[in-house]
Symmetry: C2
Subunit: 483 residues, 2 copies
């Protein structure tokens, strides 16, 4: 049997091919028969379930509630918010036949649920007592894409979309901030991916929003990836759909709104950021299998398997900050080496290797997926505590690696020649003054493929000159080529 | 403020109107703007989440894994299994435009995922080592409906669909049985709804199946409702899609397949079966809020609220077989009576009423949503244990009620005149011999509106005569009018 690893392109040689190989070899996803669609296979979906669990808990703690709104938005409703429809109409899938009959009002397959949810909000909200109304959904959305890439860009994807309606502009913006900060926490503490919170430029913001706050992550090839965003919708939708409430003084006021989404795209980021030439590297908090036990099979199979089972039971019974699957990988048809390779491809954080020596000495040999950590021998008494500590260390170390990479690949430039040079070579984030004129933004993109990613939050005005036109500029923006 | 209860039609007077009133008043669901679609509101969705949690655990314990397959099935693929497409084509929604362009191969919005999943199975399965492959999805499906009814019949609904592929016919049928037995357990032990497991007649089975096993429940109006089914697909799909494996002897064999689904329809059954003139009655295991604390507000508000909070903390901290929300309902704008009515509408199993007397005596007064149980006074020391026990009792009692109703409304008849009389008056399940000739089945349906529901599993052949044509018949079947 050939080692799977032999079929994995080297990450350093061709990151795109490596990514596609790995998605396939680790069985994260497969292509659907309709163009641009993707099957999320069980191993990929288990990662999504772990992300969902962590995020859903935070959403509920914050006072938001889950619900489900229909997949289909009548075109007549979808078209009511002008900016929104302008942004989304070109990428919609449209149902024109239902139950064998041609529909008078075609149905848009939701690309996002603002219109369908806010139509209901307009009926449900009438008094200040009904506010805030913050409803979240976990669902599937469709945005037609020409060029697709598993997880990173597909015509259908999974996400959660939260939608808040508030009495005041201030309270509304607090929810916008809560969402992006919660996303950043999930990315940092669970996915171990550092990034930057900021605000999008006018041309890059969500169709129908006053402001869009993204979490921008940097991929190993120096390109930025945006996996989650929080939008301040102001009163744009409430004015279009008449979502008004009577305040405590009896005055009728339009609500302030926000929406925020976190998508399966982040699984693509997880693969890109942490993976290496041997396969996935999954952070313990998100890994479907935290620990794999690999027995050396030979003459004493039965005894060894019994010993493996005993160790599995010890681990399962002990308290852990990383509860989850411990797997014994004992397939007799596969060699020891093959099973090690396969566990590496699947990115399992810790591997326990067990042969006759370990059985006799009542120990285990601990190996790590994170290659910078060395093998260790441990006795059974202290094993559960040690594993817990090691998983913590791995989780921290992976975030540190990501922080370091972000820092090392963020460049502050004052000269457009430097800007262009960086975008032609290493890429990465470039911090530079920009005058906020859309023409400069367009020209920079044409000449370097780099778009404005965001303006960091809470920075004070400075005095500087636009990297492109040299006119006065007040803020330093992040630029990057993007996925 | 008017009591919500005043607006609730009496169940005994007009069960259809009562049902619609209650869905609205308890805020379980609302209508979507596209015809036949439904919004599952937060309270209804919380019930679905509790069902999901219980069922998902069982699915995973059984060795099945979760995944996600695309929403869109190309029409060319969808049309390949002849029986399947004949059954589903008339009720599909079809996407004909994507990204502004007319599609050459229109996309069917999945009414069920056999074709899209098995196309992948045909690529993933090649050896006996790949079997069994049992994959489950939680998703949305669309089946175009002319006449819709919240939860019970909507153009889009939520469900889980599990799909097994096995090496042998026998192992395959074991999974078919596992699914329907698991569904029966969820219905009985969680939803407290008794029912009958059986096998569908040829004309009522799933399009493309060899056999369909439903769990048939009886509604208070004497009509049957089917909320979950398990299908033995035999080799019908594997032959059409070439899903074959090499067995241990190296022979190529088509896999045996099954599929099984549990839908949001069951929430409709939950409302119908247990609800009464005062609103919902939810079984503790499924209720989003298990216990509501209602303070009598007056002069000593602050003290009373503090005492309520103390009681809430005591309950939350204690071990319970029914962990979940305990809610203090203290809205000062609403009268004590209004809040009691509202808690009844929402079907919360246990209500703790707390006034100055309870505070002074360090007790609580316990009331029950299940009207046959009387008020009780309890001291704080034994409160958590007592509540746990009471919730258990309620759960059991609700199932007993359902069992009794099923028994009392199942009639064994030997005479077609009796059959017709029952279907014109009380309705219910009728057990009668049927010769299994489709013509008799059709005539009975035309004349009584009753269809065959199922033939119970594991019954031996008997000697009898068809209730309709009087020809020899081997089995007693269940008949009922159905939702």
């Amino acid at each position: 049997m050939n080692s799977k690893k032999n079929r994995l392109t080297k990450k350093s040689e061709n990151i795109s091919q490596w990514y596609l190989d790995l998605i396939d070899l680790a069985q994260l996803a497969d292509y659907g028969p309709a163009k641009g669609t993707m099957i999320i296979r069980p191993y990929g979906y288990a990662i999504w379930e772990n992300i969902q669990k962590a995020l859903d808990e935070k959403i509920k703690e914050s006072g938001a509630v889950n619900a489900y709104f229909p997949l289909f938005i009548p075109n007549s409703l979808f078209s009511r918010e002008k900016e929104h429809v302008k942004g989304f109409a070109p990428e919609t899938a449209v149902v024109t036949i239902g139950g064998g009959e041609k529909l008078v009002d075609p149905l848009i397959v939701r690309p996002t649920s603002e219109m369908i949810m806010y139509e209901a909000y307009s009926r449900w909200i009438s008094s200040w007592r009904d506010l805030p109304m913050v409803i979240n959904q976990w669902n599937n959305v469709v945005r037609w894409e020409k060029r697709t890439y598993p997880f990173l860009r597909t015509s259908e994807f999974l996400w959660q979309e939260g939608h808040g309606a508030h009495a005041t502009k201030r309270e509304n913006f607090e929810r916008v901030l809560w969402a992006i900060n919660t996303y950043a926490m999930i990315c940092r503490d669970f996915l171990a991916i550092d990034g930057i919170i900021g605000q999008k430029s006018e041309s890059e913001k969500f169709a129908g929003a006053d402001a869009t706050l993204p979490y921008e992550m940097l991929m190993p090839d120096g390109k930025a990836l945006q996996g989650c965003t929080s939008h301040d919708l102001g009163q744009n939708f409430s004015k279009t759909l008449s979502i008004a409430f009577q305040d405590k003084e009896g005055k009728s006021v339009f609500v302030w709104q926000n929406s925020w989404g976190f998508t399966t795209r982040t699984i693509g980021a997880l693969v890109l950021v942490h993976g290496d030439d041997n396969g996935l590297v999954l952070p313990p908090k998100i890994a479907p299998v935290k620990i794999v036990i690999i027995p050396v099979l030979g003459k004493k199979d039965e005894e060894i398997l019994k010993y493996c089972q005993k160790i599995k039971d010890i681990i399962k019974k002990a308290k852990s900050d990383f509860p989850g699957n411990v797997e014994i990988y004992s397939d007799v048809e596969k060699s020891f080496g093959w099973r090690i390779n396969d566990s590496e491809i699947r990115g399992i954080p810790i591997r326990l290797e067990i042969g006759t020596r370990e059985m006799q000495d009542k120990t285990v040999t601990i190996s790590f997926r994170l290659l910078s950590m060395e093998k260790k021998i441990s006795s059974l008494e202290i094993l559960p505590n040690k594993l817990n500590l090691l998983l913590k260390t791995i989780q921290q170390k992976m975030l540190e690696n990501s922080k370091n990479f972000l820092e090392e690949n963020t460049f502050e430039v004052k000269d457009y020649e430097d800007f262009k040079k960086i975008m032609k070579t290493t890429r990465g984030f470039i911090k530079a003054f920009w005058c906020e004129n859309v023409e400069c933004e367009k020209k920079i993109k044409e000449e370097t493929k780099a778009s404005t990613r965001c303006k960091p939050l809470n920075v004070k005005e400075k005095t500087g000159n636009c990297i492109y036109c040299d006119q006065p500029a007040k803020f330093i923006w992040y630029f990057a080529q993007a996925y």
